[in-house]
């Protein structure tokens, strides 16, 4: 088949799946925020980057400043960094975003875009642009020979962890009472408020949760990508395309499209590497022509 050995094809598909996992987790966060808040969260990439930096700071900088007993390893940071980033998200929502809900989508987009530029600028000022390295935790270093490729254990872990996060989030929003309330809140907030549900709090926490998802992805990405102020911005273009293709606001759409596009991108790299960055956007154009609300989106 096009002179590509089976072995290499399998390896590329696996790599595609790994990237797809990142797309899925990041776009799920975006989809949740858009679905419930109607905010296009352009700061998502920057929040992802901040979490990656926090992981690195906790591991290398904190012990240098405060002494070795303050070293926060990968596992601690997998919990702490998303909490910090999520809390910053809550702060952002409480102080700025909540003032914009009655305005057009565009204002939320502009505000979050500005926040992203500020965050990137601050990290660039302090840590430069070349970035820093972060090693996977000792437990997950090394790799296994799968026959068709050498699979780094850490990448396997990322796949498992991401799928788990996706499954839990989907269950939370689609199958629990809390999820039902959240969805009802977007449909008819006034009615729900009349039933005594604290809608503003729910919205705040949802934004915080969406941002924390970006945070988890950031910590997961830290050992794979070079940690630089621009790491999120580079990824965000594709993630937005994923969300649009999946259908803005659809959680399942974001997960499935994320994984599928990761695989598709992997395949493109095998057959025509130069097209690998474009393929996602070509798909986006085609989908928008045929289903303007996206694959899993509902027309409003």
């Amino acid at each position: 088949m096009f002179d590509i050995p089976m072995q290499s094809l399998m390896a590329q598909l696996l790599v595609g799946l790994i990237n797809g996992c990142f797309y899925a987790v990041l776009s799920m966060g975006l989809a949740i925020i858009f679905g419930l808040l109607n905010i296009i969260n352009f700061a998502h990439g920057a929040q992802f980057m901040v979490a990656a930096f926090l992981a690195w700071i906790g591991f290398t900088q904190l012990p240098m400043l405060l002494g070795p007993e303050f070293k926060l390893n990968f596992w601690a940071m997998l919990v702490v960094a998303p909490l910090i980033v999520g809390a910053l998200g809550v702060l952002l929502e409480k102080t700025l975003l909540k003032r914009l809900y009655h305005l057009d989508h565009l204002y939320g987009l502009l505000l979050t875009f500005g926040v992203a530029l500020i965050l990137e600028g601050v990290f660039r000022h302090f840590y430069g642009i070349s970035g820093s390295s972060y090693d996977p935790p000792a437990l997950l270093q090394g790799g296994v020979d799968l026959g068709f490729m050498f699979m780094p254990i850490y990448r396997g872990f990322v796949v498992v962890a991401s799928l788990l996060i996706c499954a839990v989030t989907w269950y939370l929003f689609e199958k629990t009472k809390l999820g039902a309330l959240l969805r009802a809140g977007t449909e008819n907030p006034k009615l729900l408020q009349a039933f005594g549900v604290n809608i503003p709090l729910m919205i705040t926490l949802t934004y915080g949760f969406g941002v924390a998802l970006a945070g988890i992805a950031g910590v997961l990405a830290a050992p794979i990508m070079q940690i630089t102020p621009l790491m999120g911005a580079n990824l965000l273009n594709i993630v937005f395309a994923v969300v649009v293709i999946g259908g803005l606001g659809s959680i399942m759409g974001a997960i499935l499209t994320g994984l599928a596009l990761g695989l598709l991108e992997g395949l493109t790299k095998v057959f025509y590497a130069e097209g690998s960055t474009v393929v996602v956007f070509v798909i986006m154009a085609v989908v928008l022509l045929m289903r303007p609300a996206g694959m899993f989106g509902k027309e409003k």
């Binding site: 390896a11 595609g16 642009i129 070349s130 970035g131 990508m225 621009l230 690998s276």
Partner: protein, 397 residues
């Protein structure tokens, strides 16, 4: 008495005449580079510091006139660079512009400088196109170029018996230029290129390309890219266990890149550089001054800005004027020898041919102090690594 008066008057006239040779009563140098984007660590503010050090070394004056410095962010965009440079030449009294970490910006400014009779000295714009059909008499590509970098590394590895090569190339002019130049050297020395992949710029994830390179079974995986792309590719090559069987050879690596990768992952790699801070007494002394101001060791690009600025000012001094053609003629007469450039001769096509260094990255245990990253393997003579003058360059004919 009469004679003494006359001689004083004559001397005064001569002084006025000499001063009149400096246009606008000031010698002004512009550093045009990336102050905020992906190349801001390898050039950026550090290049401005380097230019300042050169001006300080001249006492802030040349031919009795003050030397001034301006700098701006060209955002790696040729149109932005061209507009900034035009403003500098027309209203800003700028006589020479240096740095340009993106070669396309240097090419854009060269055209304007030629019309306005000003000098351009790219320190980090490395594409060989600057010396080819686009060459002009007022440009000096100061630090090095893609051919010399590729030649240093490729030749050393082929000689070690690493004959088959696979390229992972950034899909834009610079990457293509690096791949082409290196391929020429590899073929000439009896090696062969077994395949290549072109990755989008900037890249981010290199897994697919690395797996293809691994499957090719080539002795060497050459990286024809720069900055974060190189760093990510090396990091991921380690992750996939590729570095255990194959050699990964980045064709353009600045010390800031090695600093980001860390010695653990970069150790053993070969690379070529125009300058390394820990080469000898002179380079160490200058780098120490730089470090005090910048809190980082200089990259070759930044060191090149220092050398370009210093050489330019010395040439203005010696020529007795800042008129562009006279200064260039003076630069071509001089042997460039300072803390950064050794045995340098400026050729008609604008290439500064000088000694290059073949370096190997130290292991973490070999590194004794911060920024102690390289072993100097060989000093490569300029004549051995620089390409012949391109037939496309009309100035040289």
């Amino acid at each position: 008495m009469q004679f003494k008066k006359l001689s004083v008057a004559l001397a005064a006239c001569a002084a006025i005449a000499a001063q009149a040779q400096v246009s606008d009563d000031v010698v002004k140098i512009g550093v045009l580079n990336d102050l905020s984007g992906i190349y801001s660590d390898l050039s950026g503010q550090g290049s401005v510091t380097a230019a300042r050090l050169a001006i300080e070394e001249m006492g802030g004056k040349v031919l009795g006139k003050p030397v001034e410095l301006v700098f701006a962010d060209h955002q790696n965009k040729p149109d932005v660079a061209a507009n900034l440079a035009r403003g500098w030449f027309d209203q800003g009294k700028v006589d020479m512009v240096t740095d340009f970490p993106t070669a396309s910006t240097a090419l854009a400014v060269m055209e304007i400088a030629k019309q306005k009779n000003r000098i351009v000295m790219p320190s980090s714009g490395l594409a060989t196109a600057i010396l080819g059909e686009k060459c002009n008499a007022l440009t000096a590509q100061w630090t090095t170029n893609t051919y010399a970098l590729a030649a240093g590394t490729a030749r050393a590895l082929v000689k070690e018996g690493k004959k088959s090569w696979y390229f992972i190339t950034a899909d834009y002019t610079f990457g293509h230029s690096l791949e082409k130049d290196a391929t020429e050297v590899i073929n000439a020395d009896g090696g062969k290129v077994v395949g290549s992949s072109r990755h989008p710029f900037p890249g981010g994830d290199f897994s697919s390309f690395l797996l293809k390179a691994q499957a090719s079974g080539a002795d060497v995986i050459a990286l024809a890219n720069a900055g974060n792309d190189t760093v990510n590719a090396i990091k991921q090559a380690n992750e996939y266990g590729i570095t255990r069987k194959q050699v990964v050879a980045p064709l353009l690596t600045y010390i800031s890149d090695v600093h980001s990768i860390g010695l653990e992952k970069a150790q053993g790699m070969y690379l070529s550089e125009a300058f390394y801070w820990d080469f000898d007494e002179r380079s160490r002394a200058w780098s120490k001054k730089f470090f005090e101001k910048q809190k980082r060791m200089p990259t070759a690009a930044q060191a090149g800005v220092y050398s370009a600025t210093l050489s330019y000012l010395k040439a203005v001094q010696a020529a007795g004027t800042d008129e562009a053609k006279a200064v260039m003629a003076q630069l071509r007469k001089m042997t460039i020898d300072d803390a950064v450039i050794r045995h340098g001769k400026l050729r008609e096509d604008g290439a500064l041919v000088h000694d290059m260094l073949l370096l190997q990255v130290k292991s973490p245990s070999e590194s004794k102090v911060p920024w102690d990253y390289y072993k100097v393997k060989t000093v490569l003579k300029g004549a051995d690594v620089y390409p012949a003058i391109s037939p496309a360059c009309q100035v040289a004919k």
